[in-house]
Amino acid sequence: MVQKIRKAFTGSECSAEAMRQINPDVVAAYPITPQTPIMHAFSQFVADGAVDTEFITVESEHSAMSACVGASAAGARSMTATSSNGLALMWEIVYIASGMRLPIVMNLVNRTLSAPINIHCDHSDAMGMRDSGWIQLFSENGEEAYENTLMAVRIAEHPDVLLPVAVCQDGFITSHSVETVDILDDETAKNFVRENKPIDPLLDVDHPVTYGPLDLFDYYFEHKKQQMLAMDKSADVIRQVFDEFSRITGKSYDFFEGYMMDDAEKAIVCCNSSAGTIKTVIDELRAKGEKVGLLKMRVFRPFNNRQVVEKLKHLKAVAVLERAAGMGSYGSMIFNEIRSAFYEESQKPNMINYVYGLGGREFDPIQAKKIFEDLEAVKRGELGDTTRTIGVRD
């Protein structure tokens, strides 16, 4: 019998709660702001005996991911959490985790990359590993972070996928803000994530296996092809997991979730917490009769190009917001992928790109309103600068 329990949790507490219910075999982590509260809360669960997890306090993030790789290869359900430069430090192992096809789940509390050092939110950390072969889920709020973490375990461990998953949430904005959230009861969560059935575990001495041997030009490409196809196949698995979880919570989940999009003429595309801000602005503008909408990206990897085209093609003007800069690229990362998805289409909206909120620069309703205003000209075909910044003092 599914029960929803209402709690007042920060985003970090939501992630820690999901981890408690998952009860992973191994967690190896190193602290970094703003991920630390997740590990604080979780290590309290470990100390209290609320979980059976083997908690390894490693000496760096590189070691954290390395320990997770070893544990996962051994057959343990492994999780970790990091942000920003912590992720950057574990970068080589991140690719290894994915190349070795290990279903590790990581909470990525989005914090900007140095330099200059900044503990606040932007998505440059996640963007840096977008081609690593990890599935990437984004969360608007704590409740979504909680849900994504539970679903991540099922997605990662599916035999057609066997790829690691990063669950993102905005550092400080989501991770440190208290909101009312609906948490599932332990039994339901446990039954949903299911028992860990590792594939080719090192600890199965009756079926010896070697992980991480040398590959040369004879076979590397074939292994990468398998990985590429698994990433493609994961879209089907994500769809299945979304549908199953939807039957439990009564909410709906999608790669790109629309808000007031049906008859919208102008829309913003974004991910994580800014979606919440934009929704309130949309409510205000809709009351004045403006046909505006939001398309919130929940899944970045795999990129569902078909769905994004389906959901945006009827619009006249779209602004793609990115909380990370594509230094030297023509337009930022998500913008480029959406634009590319439309390349073959005859019906497409006029599209512009905004880089916003870098390093925790506040994204407020005033900026959101300005963007919808700017989209009026874009509707008429006056694109102006396709790539813009907003919220920076020029």
Binding site: D200, H207, V209, T210, P213, Y219, E222, H223, Q227
Partner: protein, 121 residues
Amino acid sequence: MSPGLKSWKEIPIGGKIVEPGNSINYKTGDWRSFRPVHDIEKCTNCMICWMVCPDGAVKVGSVDCPEKGRKGTSNNPKLGNYGGIDLEHCKGCGVCADECPFKAITMVEEKEIKEENKKII
């Protein structure tokens, strides 16, 4: 000879090796430019060469010993425990020659080995 190369559909994912001990199929003997040549007169069967070989390419042989039910791998009665070199895997590093206290092994360039002597044990 290694079999024809397989497609991505035919190999385990993630570069995993699921067949234990299959490194024996990889013929590293091709890498060799010097090969160990054994002098049976000097050899005392101390097996130090076998101990130090990094590839396990020194074969352990024994003479036929029917009383003990042992079958030899070499048919030379003077060879005793030394069973020759596994030339499919010997990389020619020369540690055996270096370590042999009796200088019973010399490293000879592959191109110097006459065709008829290529099968030297």
